[in-house]
Symmetry: C2
Subunit: 282 residues, 2 copies
Amino acid sequence: MKIVKTIDEVRRQVKEWKSQGLSVGLVPTMGYLHEGHASLIDASHRDNDRTVVSDFVNPMQFGPTEDLESYPRDIERDAALVEEHGGDIIFNPEPSEMYHEGFSSFVDMDVLTKELCGLSRPVHFRGVCTVVSKLFNIVQPDKAYFGKKDAQQLAVIKHMVDDLNMDIEIIGCPIVREEDGLAKSSRNTYLNDKERKAALVLSQAINICMDMVRNGETECSKITDAMKEHINAEPLAKIDYVKIVDLATMQQIPVIDRPALCAIAVYIGSTRLIDNFFSEDI
Amino acid sequence: MKIVKTIDEVRRQVKEWKSQGLSVGLVPTMGYLHEGHASLIDASHRDNDRTVVSDFVNPMQFGPTEDLESYPRDIERDAALVEEHGGDIIFNPEPSEMYHEGFSSFVDMDVLTKELCGLSRPVHFRGVCTVVSKLFNIVQPDKAYFGKKDAQQLAVIKHMVDDLNMDIEIIGCPIVREEDGLAKSSRNTYLNDKERKAALVLSQAINICMDMVRNGETECSKITDAMKEHINAEPLAKIDYVKIVDLATMQQIPVIDRPALCAIAVYIGSTRLIDNFFSEDI
């Protein structure tokens, strides 16, 4: 397992693999890896001959008031985890390697990115699409792995790949949770003990939704009202959104009569956490 | 030489070539090919084992009041020209093959695209960047060929490829001219006899610029004033812009003290024509 800092070196290595007929998987991450990321690396290791894990806190997907500076980083720990799970390279470039002076191009879309997280994070998905496009062009993987926890990101990337004819298969992998149900996230490290406990309202609200859908409830406002009521009972929680949307468009729907996504974003103290549930996973 | 209508078939053919270790050149065009395009195909044929010519009038790069419908098309004539110059495939998709229902992604940039033609054609370069990205992803060529006549387009594409780490070499080829100096363009077919004669003011103005630069003139306003005076003497001509810009930024400069581009756009009757001169070509 090798830590690689430059685009040229990743390219050289991947080309060597491809000339040997080996398949390549890519796991794009912002580092500070946890079991959620590990499950993506496992999936790539299972499907491909070689796996590249990118480990890059992408400035372009953070808004001016967001947590770019404080976002947790630990490349040594990340390297150990990648090695343990069978990754072959960590690509860990400096921001100046990815965004040289005069950088000004971007990839974006007119739909999908304006809803849900796009409402409270207006530049976020432009940053995601752009950095993922760059990583795809640098690594040219056969397959790329993304967690279903970032459900909107997964939908946006699939849409981008389809629209722009990128020759890459996108694999969405299930959410990995703590034992008590909290979805794994690098941002969970921001939580103090009280907040960590309060954060359980997210997965509990998702469970409320899953139970109601399993019991045949299809009226979205009934479901989201029950979820909101549960979250609002926790004094440390402040809802950003609780929505049920068409999975294909990310537009809110009144009734679950097609593949849908129930997605929530909740501030626990000053930490913004997300969780979700795909109706097709029932 | 084969006319191919689907993305899948181009992909299949290119993959077969690549598995044989053959290099591939791409010449993106909007069809109605002339000697300018032929020179690009020649260059690709010289440099690569196989050449794909795309022939697609891209709706996304036309504004709502522009000449999308009337843009000239003749795929049979194009096919003969591509075959004659050693091209292996014409990729001639229907708009619905390139832009399926729900298409909404785009590639764009914050600089370069807002100046010159970007001022009078605000959606133009977004359409160019998006379709060229798609063609690059479909064909995955080693090299791609663009005419220097579309100087800003060439600069924009080079910038995009560099920013987004596309693994493709971009080759700019010299302007090809009619015997009397008019730059070859598919839009020249719009001109009636009187207009065809009047259109000579473009290349004549470029010659004025070249002569002044050769004679040591560096003050841009002096040069552009002389060019404008010449163009304005022609009653059928109406200037869109006559500018000297920094080649790296497309921003106007007062003095030619770095690699510069002298670019002009002039309406002859209702037909908008462009011409230019790269200071580095002197």
